[in-house]
């Protein structure tokens, strides 16, 4: 078994991506794309922000003087780093460049752990060589599809402005242009070593998405699927989002669990099902959350750093760790900030891409408004808003216990249907839809895509409100806010940047690994120094990006079930040495539900006869002669050396009772006689000197 980490990813929106070779099959774990690199591009131009380059450049030049602290660094490049540095072209999308190094046709299975892990998949499935079986949970597949469809719709706006780029590579991807990019952008475009340029793809089409979805086999949690009869694949809830999962793969040689970013208790999604991952031979630990959480600095005006992120984790009773509680506090904080803004006449813009978070915020903000008797409208602007709202109310099986209890007590799973009925919440497919134009009212609270602030309704609304100091933008941490907000400067609007729970704390993961009792753990090299994995409980190896690791510790032997009726027919012989009993085994090998089985075959058409006897060992001439004489044979011996003097052949001539010769070499005894009985007698003597199985 071999394991290669293709990408460690970057947080919630860009999960890691790996390749696992197991039992002769190649498994791709997730296929995400890096949407944060969209920040390199200029957002879609609109009327108020014209494309008149010169004007904007001169204005922003002045502005940039007083804006940035690390001015000196930027001076190195003659051009100042500002809005004008951003690339004005139809954006391309960055997939994992390491994935391009692998032959698409060699992938047998793709496992999707989250809606984010599906976003890069159409790039693969549109390749005609792609033949892998894709598995994803039903909910992850559905949300993933909605995200991709929304992305395609939003991207259309660029096409309308820039026209279709055709098949030629765009101007900005030429080396001379890339050379001129400011270092910040250059790193996004090329990566640290300049290798990532290959990863830029022009976006797939709606047809590609449809085609991709048809290749996905959707699963329930804990549903068993058999790939090729050999691998048993199961998904278990990871608690991160609705439908996200960890994987368990069982093959005849052992079992592997793939542990993606997991959250113990979620306010919406089905909780992390770690008990089902217990006693796997190997655990691939792929939760990189602590790597990304280090960036705690926030440039918000009144950020939620007040909510202490390190409040939790005592090392006893980790079941009760209340990350749930902290999340509630964050949401409350966002709500109260939103209330302040809206009461002051500003609007609230929430371009958060996490479905679970949107659903929760929606409920809480509605509750806040209601409790304060405020009647400001809540809008969701997205091409898939309607579908999303309807879908989330018909999936109790994918939600946590509290939500399921609402089903049992006859309540809606989420309150948004009621909000919709009361017209307190309205859904618009696009910013220019007629319904929006007739129903728009400010101040308001708007949920809309996209968190990169480059695509979709958020661009238009941000331009509308960025100079309004009463309005507020809720952003997620992990996005480079300097870069993301660059086209909208100067920002008078308040920015609330907050981090949501995206995975496990390291302390928790240590406890978890002990509980899961694996025999071997694959752990990220990057997190190595932060944890102390118990060496006495399991062995561990550490992996980093772009490195292939050999995974030891799987069983040397595969498990084989021998049918009892076959086992009863076995004929055992005890070998001359080492007290070993052996039996010749013959049957039909079947691979059923991930198990090798040896069955007795009914039709013995072809091999009618039981092929018997392989003889092992060597004939000692002296012993043979003694034995032959004991049997009353009259013999003479002759030894012949081969021409090169290396091989010796012994010839035993039997004179009585009948004539025969026995030719003995190291590997063979040849008995020449015309007499049946004598041949039989001699062969019995020879056999008795050997092990016969």
């Amino acid at each position: 078994m071999e394991f290669t980490c293709l990408s460690e990813g970057r947080g919630f929106y860009f999960p890691p991506c790996h390749i696992l070779d197991i039992c002769g099959f190649r498994v791709l774990l997730d296929c995400p794309m890096d949407l944060s690199s969209l920040t390199m591009f200029m957002p879609v131009p609109t009327d108020s922000f014209t494309m008149c380059n010169g004007e904007i450049t001169s204005r922003s030049c002045q502005r940039s003087m007083d804006l940035d602290s690390n001015e000196n660094k930027r001076r190195k490049i003659n051009k100042p780093f500002d809005e004008s540095s951003l690339i004005r072209a139809e954006p391309r999308y960055k997939i994992i460049k390491n994935l391009l190094l692998w032959d698409v046709s060699s992938i047998d299975v793709v496992l999707i752990s989250s809606p984010m892990g599906i976003l890069g998949l159409p790039f693969l499935t549109c390749n005609k060589d792609f033949s892998a079986k894709v598995y994803a949970t039903e909910a992850a597949a559905r949300f993933g599809q909605l995200m991709m469809e929304d992305l395609v719709t939003m991207h259309k706006e660029f096409r309308q402005v820039y026209g279709s780029e055709g098949s030629v590579s765009p101007q900005w991807m030429k080396w001379e242009e890339l050379e001129l990019l400011p270092s910040e952008l250059k790193e996004i475009a090329l990566g640290k070593d300049g290798s990532e340029l290959a990863g830029w793809m022009s976006l797939y089409s709606a047809a590609d998405v449809k085609d991709c979805m048809q290749k996905i086999q959707s699963l329930k949690y804990a549903e068993e699927v058999f790939y090729n009869g050999t691998l048993i694949i199961k998904a278990f809830a990871s608690g991160l989002e609705i439908g996200t999962c960890n994987w368990s793969i069982i093959c005849p040689k052992g079992s592997i669990a793939y542990l993606s970013s997991s959250v113990l208790t979620s306010a919406t999604a089905m909780c992390f099902d770690y008990t089902s991952l217990q006693r796997n031979d190997v655990i691939i630990y792929a939760d990189f959350t602590p790597c990304h959480a280090s960036n705690k600095s926030s440039d918000d005006n009144n950020g939620p750093s007040t909510a202490d992120p390190n409040l939790s984790v005592g090392n006893v009773d980790w079941e009760a760790i209340a990350d749930d509680y902290q999340e509630m506090e964050k949401l409350d904080f966002i709500c109260s900030c939103s209330m302040d803004s809206i009461k002051a006449g500003g609007s609230v813009l929430i371009p958060v891409g996490r479905i679970g978070m949107v659903l929760q915020l929606l409920e809480r903000i509605a509750l806040c408004l209601e409790s304060q008797n405020l009647t400001f409208p809540i809008f969701i602007v997205s091409s898939v808003a309607e579908e999303l709202m309807a879908y989330t109310n018909v999936i109790p099986e994918w939600l946590n216990k509290q939500r399921q209890d609402r089903l049992y007590s006859g309540q809606q799973l989420f309150n948004h249907l009621k909000l919709l009925n009361d017209k307190r919440l309205q859904l618009f497919p696009a910013i220019h839809s007629l319904k929006l134009l007739t129903n728009w009212k400010e101040p308001c609270i708007v949920f809309c895509p996209h968190w990169s602030l480059r695509l979709g309704p958020v661009v238009h609304l941000l331009r509308r409100w960025c100079r309004d100091e009463n309005s507020i933008l809720v952003m997620e941490e992990g996005v480079d806010s300097n870069l993301a907000l660059l086209p909208f400067r100067p920002m008078k609007m308040k920015v609330l940047q907050c981090s949501f729970l995206s995975g496990m704390e390291l302390q928790f993961s240590q406890h978890l690994l002990k509980t899961l009792q694996p025999r071997h753990v694959l752990f990220p090299e990057k997190l190595r120094q932060h944890v102390d994995l118990p060496k006495n409980l399991f062995s561990s190896s550490y992996y980093s990006e772009d490195e292939t690791l050999n995974v030891p510790n799987l069983e040397e032997n595969s498990e084989l079930d021998i049918a009892v009726d076959l086992a009863l027919q076995l004929h055992y012989t005890t070998l001359k040495q080492e007290n070993i009993r052996v039996a010749r085994l013959k049957g039909e090998l079947a691979l059923e539900q991930g198990k090798y089985r040896l069955l007795l075959r009914n039709d013995q058409v072809v091999s009618s006869q039981v092929r018997s006897a392989v003889h092992l060992g060597r004939i000692e001439l002296d012993v043979l002669l003694t034995e032959l004489r004991k049997n009353g044979l009259n013999i003479t011996v002759e030894e012949i050396m081969s021409a090169d003097g290396l091989h010796k052949t012994s010839l035993v001539h039997v004179l009585e009772p009948q004539k025969a010769t026995i030719e003995i070499t190291k590997a063979q005894t040849l008995i020449c006689t015309a007499n049946n009985d004598l041949a039989c007698q001699i062969s019995e003597v020879v056999s008795s000197l050997l092990d016969c199985i």
């Binding site: 329930k220 018909v394 099986e397 049992y408 040397e556 039996a583 008995i671």
Partner: protein, 645 residues
């Protein structure tokens, strides 16, 4: 070792389904139903047969409930809250959501009839708290050894068949199921599983049904005719299942025909039930499921709630009212008002329990006078339409499912005795599967022997079995005969077999796991080499006085191939079952090689090494494996020139 099935209910009858299956110390109770026809102690399964002492927690591993109908779940609160069972209970999400409504509804009916209450509302809720909801196909590990899994069964929303496995033993309990999709539910779906036992319902053990479509049209037409004539239609139903199906049917029809006549739902209960159906739309049929985003199929356009004051309001209408068999409640109240008028219509469900008004109407011919109770009589003049569609599979469906699953044994439950007996015959004769139809409180014991011995298998062994092992068989019998007949066409001259057998060595060593190895591995491990024992004999045949030889003597080309061919034909007729390969220079039969020896001095000649004139030598070699065959062939060679008698 055996699988034991104790049938506590629905044995040779319909009602109080309950089967306790024991596999390797694991005891699973499938369904825990009540009998609607009794109000004494026959109403519940006789739980004392599970455990005399009443210690159900230790004697049962878990309970599995297939769907929310009372004859499958009605006794559950009694068993948990009164009998004190505290162990795990599994059912699907919709069953968990909808069962309390059914239980509560029934409790109220019992209450109204003034019978002793068996459990309270609180106890129903307490009971439901102990339930673990499962999704379809979700594999639930109940404990280390017991695995269960739900499969879609159609029938009602959330109905499931359950698969249970302990070690190598596996069974399926179907509950009620439907093999054809209906208006809102899909058909039952299950994987091909290796099963020792299938316990199936057999409500329609002897019925074969045609398409449902015609019967739906008939229902719609009857209703339409009635409202067109200004009549009122009363549809007594239970709150869940049938109500939604009929409502969907009517709502669609109203839309198509552009009808404006109001459709009413009597109680809040039924409207509330619609809400559950909306949230659980993923459990409906493929077609209905996809409506969730645009317009949820359970958002009925033409349906509104009913007010008591509307009973005698003028004009036509359609009313859904509970309970289904007009055994009391609101449906009875409306029935009393509407039944005397010829223009009105009452629809009856396919099955009514004896003693209910519904049952009386089924056999009646209008106009008729019916006793409601001691003091009340009603002249029924309205039309009566009996619904003839039922969400159970028919006999063909049962046989199809059993055939598809091909279990080693079948137990039939949930059906009337004579019908079940007929079906049992059919399963045994048509499918050749052992079949049982136990009565209540009987135990069926099924011997179970499919065991496997677990060993470790090496990679080399497994790999060696993967490569095809092609064998070519030439059918020799046709050779001499005429080729013109059909036989030659149907039997090709060469047959190719992929004889992929796993061949290896099983090695048992003290204190070590038994291993299956490839032969080469064993030799490498023991440090020994194989030693082949072979035989050789250069067999002389004197041809001096042979007719055959003389006949051909004139020809100079009489050579090796002639003799070999002669031998080939002889052997072919002598050993018709054996494959003989003619390789030109030599013949090969298994490990036996024979060629014509032209050597002056052949070491394999024993009689005389010197080549004798007028003698053809057949030089043979073989291995010890074919010793017996070899000597038989040699005797053929020796007698090569003897004429057959």
């Amino acid at each position: 070792m055996a699988i034991e099935c104790l049938v506590l209910g629905a044995g040779q009858e319909v009602g109080k389904s309950c089967v306790v299956v024991t596999i390797n110390d694991k005891k699973i109770m499938f369904d825990c139903g009540m009998h609607m026809g009794y109000s004494d102690n026959r109403r519940y399964p006789d739980f004392s047969l599970i455990s005399k002492s009443g210690d159900f927690n230790n004697s049962l591993t878990c309970i599995v409930v297939t769907h929310f109908h009372l004859d499958h779940i009605g006794a559950l609160p009694y068993f948990t809250e009164v009998c004190g069972y505290n162990g795990p209970i599994y059912m699907t999400y919709p069953t968990k959501a909808l069962a309390p409504l059914m239980l509560e509804d029934n409790r109220k009916v019992v209450d109204r009839r003034g019978e002793e209450e068996q459990f309270s509302s609180e106890q129903i809720l307490e009971c439901m708290k102990k339930v673990t909801a499962v999704d379809l196909k979700q594999t639930v590990q109940v404990d280390k050894d017991l695995q269960i899994r739900a499969y879609y069964a159609g029938h009602v929303l959330g109905a499931a068949m359950f698969y249970a496995r302990v070690g190598d033993a596996a069974i399926v309990y179907t509950g009620d199921y439907n093999m054809t999709p209906d208006r809102h539910l899909g058909a039952a779906q299950i994987d091909r599983l290796q099963l020792d036992l299938v316990i199936t319902e057999s409500t329609y053990a002897t019925t074969y049904r045609d398409s449902k479509y015609a019967r739906e049209r008939e229902f719609l037409k009857t209703v339409h005719k009635c409202v067109a004539g200004g009549g009122k239609v009363l549809i007594p139903t239970f709150a869940l299942g049938r109500a939604q199906e009929l409502c969907m049917l009517l709502d669609d029809y109203w839309e198509q025909m552009n009808l404006k006549v109001p459709i009413y739902f009597s109680a809040g209960l039924t409207l509330q039930a619609n809400m559950y159906y909306k949230m659980l739309i993923n459990w409906t049929s493929q077609k209905v499921k996809h409506t969730y985003a645009t317009r949820n199929a359970f958002d009925f356009k033409h349906v509104c709630s009913f007010d008591r004051s509307l009973i005698n309001a003028p004009g036509p209408c359609v009313l859904f009212a509970t309970p289904g068999m007009i055994s009391g409640g609101f449906s009875l109240e409306v029935f009393k008002q509407w039944a005397p008028y010829e223009s009105n219509l009452i629809t009856l469900p396919g099955y009514c329990v004896a003693g209910t008004i519904g049952h009386k109407l089924m056999s009646a011919k209008t106009p008729v006078r019916i006793n409601i109770d001691k003091d009340t009589q009603i002249d029924v003049r309205c039309q009566i339409h009996q619904l003839s569609f039922s969400p159970h599979t028919d006999a063909k469906g049962i046989l199809d499912l059993v055939k598809f699953l091909s279990p080693k044994n079948v137990i039939l439950v949930h059906g009337e005795k004579p019908k079940i007996a007929k079906l049992k015959e059919k399963v045994q004769s048509e499918l050749g599967i052992q079949c049982f139809d136990p009565a209540n409180n009987e135990t069926v014991s099924i011997p179970f022997t499919t065991h496997y011995e677990k060993v470790g298998a090496s990679d080399a062994l497994l790999r060696s079995t993967l490569s095809p092992n092609l064998k070519f068989l030439r059918k020799c019998s046709e050779q001499g005969s005429d080729f013109s007949d059909l036989d030659a066409r149907t039997k090709p001259g060469l047959q190719v077999f992929d004889d992929r057998m796993a061949e290896g060595i099983l090695m048992v060593q003290r204190n070590q796991k038994t291993k299956a190895l490839h032969q080469d591995e064993l030799m490498a491990m023991l440090g020994v080499e194989s030693h082949e024992i072979k035989f050789a004999n250069c067999c002389p045949v004197d041809i001096a006085n042979s007719d055959t030889r003389n006949a051909f003597l004139s020809q100079p080309t009489v050579d090796k191939s002639f003799w070999l061919h002669l031998l080939f034909e002889k052997l072919s007729s002598k050993f018709p079952e054996t494959s003989i390969q003619d390789c030109g220079e030599h013949l090969q039969i298994e490990s036996f090689y024979v060629s014509v020896c032209t050597k002056e001095m052949c070491p394999h000649r024993t009689a005389s090494l010197q080549c004798m004139p007028e003698t053809v030598y057949f030089c043979c070699t073989w291995t010890i494996a074919d010793e017996k065959l070899a000597w038989e062939i040699i005797s053929v060679i020796k007698n090569l020139l003897l004429k057959e008698e």
